[in-house]
Amino acid sequence: MNGFEVAQHNSEDGITILRLKGFLDAHTAGDLEAALQKCIDEKKFRIVVNFEELNYISSAGLGVFMGFIEDVRENGGDIKMTSMTEKIFHVFDLLGFPALYDILKTDDEAVERFAQTEKE
């Protein structure tokens, strides 16, 4: 079967980085949901999701991000997305995500973006 993994890594500046790997579809969406729910429960609202090793994403996968963004932003955080392959970005682009989510090249850029908003 096409597997899916989420690896969580906490950076020094209190930012949580989730690295996604494999296939994210309706079947595996629950795993991502659990990982994001864990961040919320632990009050980690500054989240970077790294898509470098993600091979496939379906609408259901995108839906999970929709389910949490409100909660995260209300708590002064954000979900920023990084390192998408062209194929993955294409799906996000088609459904209009770039207008409403920060989609960046690298984790460092995302961390920097968090630092900037912090200053403001």
Binding site: A29, E33, V64
Partner: protein
């Protein structure tokens, strides 16, 4: 002469420069498919060459309407402005100060003085419009020629870029449709692979939320009597109150208009207010066989854009495929439940059959036989032979009111009570008195038992009996006469502390005692007639049986034959005793 030469030379150089610039321009235009670059080139080139302060490019939306696609030296706001131009121009012409076309008046007011039509394949696709030269000098014929050439060069590039933009747009829409189909395909596959209601609901929610960038989504299913159950809610606050789904009003509202409904158009004020405060934007009822069985409660889109018709269509399609999966899951659960019940009933039947005697007793001078055919898996008829001691055999028949499991439970209760009491050496009347009190205490008023209990003294060949409201057993004598055993009292379970009387009858050689339940006498034929007591008498007298078993079988066959195709509705129990 020299002066003239110099002038010619200058003019020649100028033409060369014009051609050079046209050549440069054509290279730039042909190398670019981006409309902005083409428009900028088209404007900046003449503005630079002729020192013009302002200019714009208009592109035709249709034959008479143009849109300002690019503007230089003009206020920011004019871009995208739509202009109506009635006149047609075939070559560069001065902008008329007065015109019936509001578009031309608008352009004149903004200081634009020259109008160069842009044609592609003889079709006008737009205008290059320019202001005055800063020097104030008029446009020379050469310059006008130059501008015409410029416009013609740009036209094919503009046309190409437009086609490309259209193509990109079509491609993007196509990609979006493919994405939707993928979602539909994936969700259908996923839904078909599970019978877990929560999983179905979650799969639907995330697919819909991702596909349309919806922040909140919930799914409610309709239960009996206007109640509702919330299967899932995503993105709504923890304290969101969904109690509105638990009302008849809510579901009736959806029944009345079973299509996706924007919250602001709901007629019910209270519901509209509740839903608006929860940021719900849309209710999408899900139907199966034209009945609203569930509802998607759809919140805001993150982009804030409205839901279009094809969005609503997709929502309904996705929702309905989830509903089919939910229905499948429900049917599967019901089938499982039914299977389990049937298995339990089979076990109950097995238990009940063991409560009835496996073999008739073997006592010399007497021949016994018994038969019970339950109508359903389990029934309420009872018969028994109980050997109390060497001298005494108890035989009994009973019929519990009602059918199925409730009747069978009471029958088991009767069987247990009797087996516990027969060894107490009480008179039969005392035993029946006590059993009546037990049954009365254990049942409601509408449950009762017709019961016949007899004790056979195998030495004296005397039969003592109590008939508590049961169809009177028939004792057939050798000479063809028949005695009904009627002594006794009230049926069991109606009243407590009811006294019973007993009857005693000596048995003769050749006597045949036939006991039965009303499943025999009240069996109906297709014409609706009953078998009746007389039917029993006729069968027994006509057949001249020589064994107890033969009597049972004759009676059974007669009842079955009589019933024909008419549905059987009751248990059939027959017990016989032949004195030999």
């Amino acid at each position: 002469m020299k002066k003239q030469n110099q002038k010619d030379r200058q003019q020649h150089d100028r033409r060369l420069l014009d051609l050079q610039s046209l050549f440069e321009l054509s290279k730039t235009l042909n190398s670019s498919l981006q409309q902005d670059v083409i428009l900028d080139t088209l404007l900046f080139t003449p503005m630079g060459r002729m020192m013009i302060g302002r200019g714009a490019v208009l592109l035709n939306e249709d034959a008479k309407t143009c849109r300002i696609a690019a503007a230089k030296g003009l206020p920011q706001g004019v871009r995208e402005h739509a202009l109506l131009i009635e006149e047609r121009f075939d070559a560069p012409a001065p902008m008329p100060a007065e015109s019936d076309s509001p578009g031309l008046t608008f352009l004149y007011r903004h200081g634009l003085r020259l109008l160069c039509p842009i044609h592609s394949n003889k079709r006008q696709i737009g205008y290059l419009v320019l202001g005055e030269k800063i020097t104030g000098a008029p446009f020379s014929p050469d310059e006008l020629q130059y501008l015409e050439a410029l416009a013609n060069l740009a036209s094919s590039s503009l046309e190409n870029s437009r086609i490309l933009a259209e193509l990109r747009d079509v491609n993007r829409r196509l990609d979006k449709k493919i994405q939707q189909l993928n979602t539909l395909f994936e969700i259908t596959r996923e839904l078909n692979s599970t019978l877990d209601r929560d999983k179905i609901a979650t799969t639907l929610s995330y697919a819909v939320m991702g596909e349309m960038m919806i922040r909140q989504l919930a799914l409610a299913v309709r239960e009996d009597e206007g109640r509702g159950e919330l299967l899932t809610s995503k993105g709504f606050g923890r304290n969101s109150d969904f109690s509105f789904i638990d009302s008849e009003t809510f579901w009736c509202l959806l029944d009345a208009a079973p299509q996706p409904t924007p919250v602001e158009s709901l007629a019910d004020d209270a519901l509209r207010t509740t839903l608006s405060s929860m940021k719900v934007r849309l209710l999408v009822p899900l139907l199966n066989q034209e009945k609203v069985l569930a509802c998607m409660i759809v919140g805001d889109r993150l982009s804030g854009t409205a839901f279009h018709d094809d969005d609503l269509e997709l929502l309904a399609t996705l929702g309905n495929s989830a509903l089919v999966a939910l229905e499948n899951a429900r049917l599967f659960r019901e089938t499982l439940e039914k299977q389990r019940l049937e298995e339990e009933l089979a076990i109950a039947r097995d238990i009940q059959q063991r409560l009835l005697p496996a073999e008739p007793p073997d006592i010399s001078g007497f021949d016994f036989s018994g038969l019970n055919i339950p109508h359903a898996q389990v029934g309420g008829d009872y018969y028994d032979f109980i050997r109390v001691n060497e001298k005494e055999l108890v035989l009994t028949i009973g019929d519990v009111s009602g059918k199925g499991v409730p009747a069978s439970l009471l029958m088991a209760n009767l069987q247990a009570s009797l087996h516990a009491m027969v060894h107490a050496k009480w008179p039969l009347t005392e035993t029946v008195f006590r059993i009546n009190n037990i049954i009365h205490a254990n049942t409601s008023i509408d449950k009762f038992i017709t019961f016949f209990l007899a004790s056979l003294n195998v030495e004296t060949r005397e039969l003592t009996y109590v008939n508590a409201g049961h169809n009177p057993p028939m004792l057939f004598h050798k000479d063809g006469k028949m005695t009904e055993l009627q002594e006794g009292g009230l049926i069991l379970g109606m009243m407590s502390d009811v006294p019973y009387e007993q009857g005693t009858i000596p048995l003769q050689n050749g006597d045949l005692l036939v006991l039965f339940t009303d499943g025999v006498t009240e069996a109906t034929n297709p014409a609706g007639e009953e078998f009746t007591e007389q039917g029993v008498i006729d069968v027994i007298l006509r057949s001249g049986v020589s064994t107890a078993r033969e009597a049972v079988e004759r009676l059974r066959d007669a009842v079955i034959e009589f019933s024909g195709d008419a549905p059987r509705t009751d248990d059939i129990t027959i017990l016989t005793l032949l004195v030999t």
